[in-house]
Amino acid sequence: MDPIAALLILVCVIVGGLLASLGVHMIPVGGAPAAMGTATGIATGTVQLMFGAALTGLFTASTVATFFETPSPLALVLVALSGAVGAMLMLSFTMLFANMLYVFGAGVVPVSGRVEVDPITKEPQTPYKTPQTDGHGVPNVSYISGWIGAFLGGFGGALMYFVLKNYAFPASLFAELGAADAEMVSAAAAGIAAAGIFVANAILSAYNIGGTIEGFHDPKFKRLPKALISCAVVSALCGLCIIIATWGLSGGGGV
């Protein structure tokens, strides 16, 4: 196979993995304590949130990708941005409705437990926090952090999808199925492979933050470089697997 295509796959899978890892560190995940309203964040695990956001991003990205016949830098940017917007929308709705449940259902104020003053709006946090808890709901700073995280994660996932669809599993490899079916097979293979690499990176990053984080203002955010190194290595190996699969699919031969 073409060595430039192989290099492109490897680089984009690593970049996508790093963006996924960065995204996980910025979304407000509360886990089980948040389900009882005693910690800041959305009341579910990192995997569920990030996988949900990335899959929504893949849906929007794959829809936009059908408008482009041939890969071009403009197509790459537009597809990746549409993935980012899809992920942002999904996470925004989740955070909004989580907040509505906390405020109108549980009767608690969205407040951060890690900082005394909101770093963005400068609103005081500590006076509104229930004693013995780690905050409640999704306060402004976490909401904005979650937006940025979903944007980065969705961008990374869609970037991987675009490169895998056009260079790792291009429709020309399945030409015997007919043009329309070949496009669909190519999209399905790229989507599942991108989702597999994305969850692997998202979960390694989730282990790094120990399951819960409030956003970029959380002290745990300083652990980010450790996750980035681990994710870069694991993504590189996953990219290598994809390159091997493409090499085999195109019938082997010299690189």
């Binding site: 692997a200 190996l237 996953c238």
Partner: protein, 287 residues
């Protein structure tokens, strides 16, 4: 008034014979069965399903032994990690088999050892991510045996995907699998159901009175459900190389038998472990 008690031993000292086998024993059985069923793609689906069942139970056992110490993100994360590595490893393995290690006689694929390359790659990724997760310099989760657990999960995920793909498509040729399994969307079922079979048993049964033999019965039960669904999928798809209607019906029957038998076993074990079983009056109480 509480009396301080001595810390309870994590594992019972003397391993009993019969069910459940030791962790290593179960791993060896599952790997041998899984590899034999994977490299012989011409076998009927319900025979491959036996391999699939053992591979998934082994995966559930690996999830159990790593999640016992608390992952921080909930048990499901490590099951999803296993299928994430599994799907990458399976694609790479089928790609390798496309180049070499795939022997076809008279249009029937008789031996496919190339896919084992993908299993080895998934094991490597799992081992390296285990090292990174446990290392003090990196994620430092400090879970004993995490490297081994993640390696096993990578292998179990890959073998599960390969077996499921060959059950639905009837072959392990990457182009046929991409067409029958990926294009049809069956991969989405496989993705989440394989993860479910690995993480759900421990996620549902964990607690102070968790019992390894009882937990693993849930995994058998879910693998039966997966076989029923895959049988229906293969009837609906009628893939280009699939082994025919009788094969799919056999798979569904195997799934139903496994599901019913292990569900009954699990309920009986749960009753045995209970202090007392009392009926609510709504359902007839089973003694």
């Amino acid at each position: 008034m509480t009396v301080p008690t001595a810390p309870v031993e994590e594992e019972e000292a003397k391993p009993k014979k019969g069910w459940p086998p030791t962790e290593t024993g179960l791993g060896i059985i599952a790997v041998i069965l899984g590899i034999i069923m994977t490299i012989l793609p011409f076998l009927p689906s319900f025979v491959k399903a036996i391999g699939l069942t053992f591979v998934l139970v082994w995966g559930a056992d690996s999830v159990r032994k790593t999640s016992r110490y608390g992952l921080g993100t909930g048990v499901p994360s490590i099951g999803v990690l296993a299928v994430g590595y599994g799907v990458i490893g399976a694609i790479a393995g089928m790609g390798i088999a496309n180049v070499g290690g795939d022997f076809t006689i008279g249009g029937v694929e008789v031996l496919n050892v190339g896919v084992l390359g993908g299993v080895a790659l998934a094991a490597l990724i799992g081992y390296i991510s285990g090292i990174f997760s446990n290392s003090e310099k990196f994620i430092s989760m400090k879970i004993p045996g995490l490297e081994r657990g993640m390696t096993e999960l990578g292998v179990a995920g890959t073998l599960a995907f390969l077996l499921e793909s060959s059950m639905v498509a009837g072959t392990l040729k990457l182009s046929a699998v991409l067409e029958d399994v990926f294009f049809s969307g069956a991969i989405a079922f496989m993705f989440i159901l394989s993860a479910l079979a690995m993480f759900h048993p421990f996620n549902a049964c964990l607690g102070p009175d968790e019992d390894r033999g009882r937990t693993l019965l849930v995994s058998f039960e879910i693998s039966g459900l997966i076989c029923i669904i895959l049988g229906i999928v293969s009837i609906a798809l009628r893939g280009s190389q699939s082994l025919g209607l009788a094969d799919a019906v056999g798979l569904i029957l195997y799934g139903i038998v496994v599901w019913v038998v292990f569900y009954a076993k699990f309920v009986r074990r749960a009753f045995e472990g209970a202090y007392e079983v009392v009926g609510t009056g709504l359902i007839k109480t089973v003694k």
